[in-house]
Amino acid sequence: MSGALEYLVILAVLSAAVVFVTWPLRIAAVGRRPGERSELDERSSLDELEAAREAKYRELRDAELDHLTGKLSDDDYEALDHSLRGEAIEILHGLDRELAREREDDSATIDPA
């Protein structure tokens, strides 16, 4: 490959990389509404609750499997299952509250104009 062609390839790769990496900034500069809030902090609370919900579901499934394979007696399983379901419901209520808050925020930031 000749020297000139090598420089052309380098220029092309560099240009493509710059356009690709900075594209979200261009889009945001065009589409951002004044005063619009970031989604970072809102999503994070939801993500935490979703992770907790998945972990609790997994714990419920594990408890049931432990019971079926004889590692938990009927009484122990019933007590454990009851308490886990209670914890799961608390997480689901938390998720409900977060989603409701997000919906309120969404409607509040709609630009009437």
Partner: protein
């Protein structure tokens, strides 16, 4: 092409620096477009690193000796298969491999979590780019793989013969994949600490990558052990070499993490412990790379020695300071949400197992670094060697095996006496049966208490895992009425993490049976044999039948055919060779360079079955050929200049013919001298080993890898749910409205 390669490395460095800035700025200011731009910098870096790595591989493939790394570690006679692997045998190529692999894994996780945990992910992106930037900077400023020479040699130096082994194609990329994957949970843990979001979220994001790191690193370690066993010619698979230990330490650490995160997920406990483990594993992975690449400790991996020590020490210091500082800063949020309900629970077993694993890491770390510590304190480098490890590691390994059997059969939170009796009776009986059987076997392992205990414990583990699989299958059959094989497969498919883990435990038991048997009951002999002579090892008669010799452009191989018999009956025939590679040392002489022992290596003669390995290696001493070699050297030293002088005066075609004739004569002389090993054989040194049950080690490794893959594979229902969520987005948070009744679909 080298120019493009150098430019790509600089662009990678630029992308890393920009991406760090964009991610941190976006996270601090809550500007999502900047965090996305930072993530895109990782994708761009991955694309450029891939291109750069492809250019380097292409240079090796084309024998482009203008690249210094190609000239230094490949040649026209290197087989294509090994030319491609030669890239990571060099310092420069391995640094580029690090950047390439880390950028690919980072791109994968950032793509998978692009709509989740955005704040944590933004900081994790910056940390990952920090690692990529560091290794790219090393490649740019310290060891550039695209450095070229204005006057390239006509032929390269060739690949280090010790690296000419099939596992070298896979072993380093596996280890490096493990090391690079370990930085992903490290980065997300840092992100969680910075943002203070220390719940189950960051663990859910990175658990699978931690498991992948564990799997890749484990496979890499075992491939290295296999290479050591079949290539190095010392008769073992594990030498407690610093570089081996460097890979083992993060593997032990991440093994502990994989278990203890289950406690955090279920109970909100051990948050400090988990964060410390994952940060420790990340730290140890960089330390491992440092040990391979710096050469600060004497190692069989001396081909990796270099002067990259200072930048690595700075990086390690920054990592340690940041990790400790962040943990202290967030100590309040890292408090446990619950306490242990009972010391007889799976949580307690996991905790104890974690402590054993961490104790192992401390022991290995201390003994590995003892030469440096002693040098720092006393000025004298004291090496303690492999015997120092065993008194500590063996008892800890025994406790670990016991716990790996208890873990699967004990329940979370609490157990009752009735449940204990129901779950432990069969496994304990299994272990006792093995113990009694071995004690009663005449000539059994009763003289080796550690091995005896390990065999009994392995029996306990195998029965406990079998019992769990059987009971799970029976439970599933009761629900689905499937036949046993279908119920078994269905059980594993729906509970991959749990049963994949149990299979790993069974594999560990099988592997340790192999380790205990082969290390406790090995018989070996170091003997000198001439053709026709024989030696006896552990009841086997090994006879040196005849010498062998072969010459190829890459090497001269001198070996022996050995016949193995027991009680007069033929068992097997094995062949072992010693390979001599042409040296570049001019003082060896024109003929002597083909018999240089500096880079010589062995091919092991191996007969393997479930009961034992018969292992043999020959060490041919070519000094017996010294008089002939010296004579030929003198002859050609006088003759060659005359031919060259004469050739310089001839037309090019005739000159070439004259030089070719000279080299043909030289090759004939080399061939005739080498043939003396067959026509006038002399006694050679042999290391002969009869080693029981070594193959169990490799079988155990395969079972572990299989269990790891099962645990790693995505659960079908989760995969479907994720796909459905993505398809119905505006936001993945919008799950169906939660019902007060919690239902869990098809639990078994």
């Amino acid at each position: 092409m080298a120019l493009i390669g150098r430019a790509l490395l600089l662009m990678c460095l630029g992308a890393a620096v920009y991406g760090i800035g964009a991610s941190v700025y976006g996270a601090r200011r809550g500007r999502r477009e900047w965090t996305i731009s930072g993530r895109r910098a990782v994708y761009a870096l991955a694309a450029m690193a891939t291109l750069a790595f492809a250019i380097l591989e292409d240079a090796f493939y084309r024998n482009d000796f203008s690249f210094n790394v190609v000239a230094g570690s490949s040649s026209t006679t290197t087989p294509t298969f090994y030319k491609l692997a030669a890239a990571w045998s060099t310092q420069q190529g391995s640094l580029l491999l690090w950047v390439f692999l880390l950028s690919l894994w980072s791109s994968l996780i950032l793509f998978l979590v692009r709509n989740r945990a955005r704040e944590i992910t933004a900081y994790a992106t910056a940390v990952l780019l920090g690692f990529m930037g560091f290794f790219t900077a090393l490649a740019v400023f310290w060891a550039n793989p695209f450095a070229t020479s204005a006057t390239p040699p006509a032929e390269g130096a060739g690949l280090d013969p010790l690296l000419v082994h099939p596992s070298m194609m896979i072993h380093p990329p596996m280890l490096y994949s493990g090391y690079t994957l370990l930085t992903i949970p490290f980065a997300f843990a840092i992100g969680a600490l910075v943002t203070g979001r220390l719940g189950a979220e960051w663990i859910a994001l990175t658990r699978r990558f931690a498991l992948a790191a564990w799997l890749f690193l484990g496979i890499g370690i075992l491939l290295g052990a296999r290479w050591s066993y079949t290539e190095l010619g010392w008769g073992g698979y594990w030498a407690w070499d610093p570089v081996e230990n460097a890979a083992l330490m993060p593997w032990l650490c991440i093994t502990a993490f994989i278990h203890s995160i289950m406690i955090q997920e279920k109970r909100g406990m051990l948050k400090v412990w988990n964060v410390s483990l994952v940060l420790g594993a990340g730290f140890l992975s960089i330390l491992g790379t440092f040990l391979v690449r710096s050469g600060i400790l004497d190692s069989i991996h001396a081909f990796g020695a270099s002067t990259l020590g200072v930048p690595f020490v700075i990086l390690l210091a920054v990592m340690a300071t940041a990790a400790i500082g962040l943990i202290l800063w967030r100590r309040e949020q890292l408090r446990s949400e619950a306490r242990l309900d009972s010391l007889l629970s799976r949580e307690a077993v996991f905790l104890l197992q974690n402590m054993v694993l961490v104790a192992m890491v401390f022991v290995i770390f201390w003994i590995t670094f003892f030469p440096l510590i002693s040098q720092a304190l006393t000025g004298t480098k004291v090496s303690v060697g492999p015997p120092a490890f065993k008194p500590f590691v063996v008892p800890l390994a025994l406790i670990l095996v016991l716990l790996s059997g208890i873990g699967p059969i004990i329940a979370w939170r609490r157990v009752t006496v009735a449940n204990l009796r129901r779950n432990f009776t069969l496994p304990v009986l299994g272990g006792l049966a093995v113990l009694i059987w071995l004690l009663l076997v005449p000539g059994g392992p009763s003289s080796r208490p550690f091995a005896l205990i390990l065999f009994a414990l392995a029996g306990f583990v195998l029965v406990s895992v079998f019992q769990e699989l059987w009971r799970g299958t029976a439970a599933r059959r009761a629900m689905t009425h499937d036949i046993v094989p279908v119920a078994f497969v269905g059980l594993i498919r729906r509970n991959r993490r749990r049963y994949g883990g149990y299979i790993v435990h069974a594999g560990l038991a099988v592997l340790l049976i192999g380790v205990a048997a082969s290390s406790s009951f090995q018989h070996s002999q170091d003997v000198f044999l001439a053709p026709g002579q024989k030696a006896s090892v552990d009841g086997y008669t090994i006879r040196y039948v005849r010498p062998t010799e072969s010459i190829s452009p890459e090497k001269i191989a001198m070996g022996a055919v050995l016949n193995v018999t027991k009680g007069g009956k033929h068992v097997t025939t094995v062949t072992t060779t010693r390979n001599f590679y042409p040296s570049q040392n001019p003082t060896d002489g024109l003929v002597g360079r083909f018999f240089d022992t500096t880079d010589s290596d062995s091919e092991v003669g191996l007969h393997s079955n479930l009961r034992r390995d018969i292992w043999a290696v020959i060490d041919v001493d070519p000094t017996h050929l010294a008089p002939l070699i010296n004579q030929a050297n003198s002859l050609f030293a006088a003759f060659a200049p005359q031919v060259m002088t004469k050739a310089a005066k001839l037309p090019p075609a005739q000159a070439q013919q004259a030089v070719n004739t000279l080299w043909t004569e030289r090759d004939l002389a080399v061939s005739e001298i080498a043939r003396r090993f067959v026509t006038h054989p002399w006694a050679s040194e042999f290391l002969l080993i009869v080693d029981p049950m070594v193959i169990w080690l490799w079988l155990g490794a395969l079972i572990i890898a299989g269990g790891g893959l099962i645990a790693l594979w995505p659960v079908p229902s989760l995969a479907r749910r994720r796909a459905a969520t993505a398809a119905s987005a505006p936001s993945p948070a919008r799950q169906p409205a939660p019902s007060p009744r919690v239902r869990v679909r098809e639990p078994v």
